[in-house]
Each structure stands twice: as C-alpha cells, then as structure tokens.
Symmetry: C2
Subunit: 104 residues, 2 copies
C-alpha cells in the first residue's frame, strides 16, 4: 500500500530534511546533498527511498541530475491524518467553551 511507503519514507529526519529543501525548488543532487554531514552514497540511498515512495523524481539535464518534489503522497498522508483532526478540535472546543463560560 502506498501509505506504507510514504509514512516509512517520512520516518527519517534526513529524508524529511531533503523534502523540506526540495520545497524551495528543483535541485541538482550534489547541491541537495551538500548540507548533510554524510557521504554522497548515504544521501543517494535516502533519495532512492523517497523516489520509491513517489515523493521525488529525477531528471537529467546535460550532465546534471535534478531532483523534484512530488507532493501527491504528502497530500494522501495528510488526508489520512485529517480524519483525526476532529479529536484535537473537539478538545480545543471544550477548552474554548470552558473559557467562555468562566470569563464573566
């Protein structure tokens, strides 16, 4: 199931940081890898996990490999979580009611 791969890909801080960096725009792999204190093969491994989860696509332009963020799986994950929003909203509603009732 796709959500399995998405949530699994998101469970690593380096992969979340890569996603966050790609949100600024398409980026060559070398530039994407540079801020991370790890080898290029180690970053490439994370990139492959993101690619397998459909969160990232690569394209070659001349000799440079560019990475692009694909937000569709993030939207699906957000949709799954959105159902549970009613529970934290309910708690906030109770708090708002309490504050209102006790503010006079």
């Amino acid at each position: 199931m796709n959500l399995d791969n998405t949530f699994s890909a998101l469970s690593d801080p380096t992969r979340r940081a890569i996603i966050s960096k790609l949100a600024e725009g398409d980026m060559p792999i070398m530039e994407l890898a540079s801020p991370f204190d790890m080898s290029l093969p180690a970053v490439s491994k994370h990139i492959r996990v993101l690619e397998k989860a459909g969160l990232l696509t690569r394209r070659k332009q001349g000799r440079v490999q560019y990475c692009r963020l694909n937000v569709k799986p993030l939207r699906d994950a957000a949709k799954w979580l959105a159902f549970y929003q009613q529970f934290w909203d309910a708690k906030l509603d109770s708090l708002a009611n309490f504050l209102e009732e006790n503010s006079e």
Copy 2:
C-alpha cells in the same frame, strides 16, 4: 525524534487499522485484536509499537486491559505535513483560475 516514531508507527496497515478502531472509543485489547487475522502476540507487538510512539496508552480495569488512542502525535505529524499544503493548494488555485478565465 518523536516524528520518527510516529511516522514509523503509521507505516503499517495493521497499526493504522488499530488507530482507526480506537477512534471509536477505548477498547479492551481482546476486542481490539479480534478483527485481525493474526495471533494475539502479533497484535500485541503492533500495540507495543503504537505505545512506544505515544499513540496508545493502556490502563487496567479489573482483569481487563483497555487501550486508548492518544492523538497528540497525529496532530504533530499533521502539523509537519500542513506546511506542504500550499503546494497542492497552489495547483488547485491554478486550476480554479484557468477554469474562471475560460468560462466566459
């Protein structure tokens, strides 16, 4: 980091199904385990993963162990994903603009 455990816990369909069942209300472990086509120890293992991620708490009432959903980690995960909403909203905005411009 907490998001690591949360996203990792959510990467399994049985664990997502347990969360979805607990959204109906607190439930004894036996009742929670019954719809799954797996042994009680196998379900218990998933429950421990959810517990470690802070998504589930247990309490004993007499001889029965009840499980309760804790939505706080789900809210944190949803917050992380919310940043990326601008990207799919932007696409929908473009579509809305296109339809508006071409509807006359």
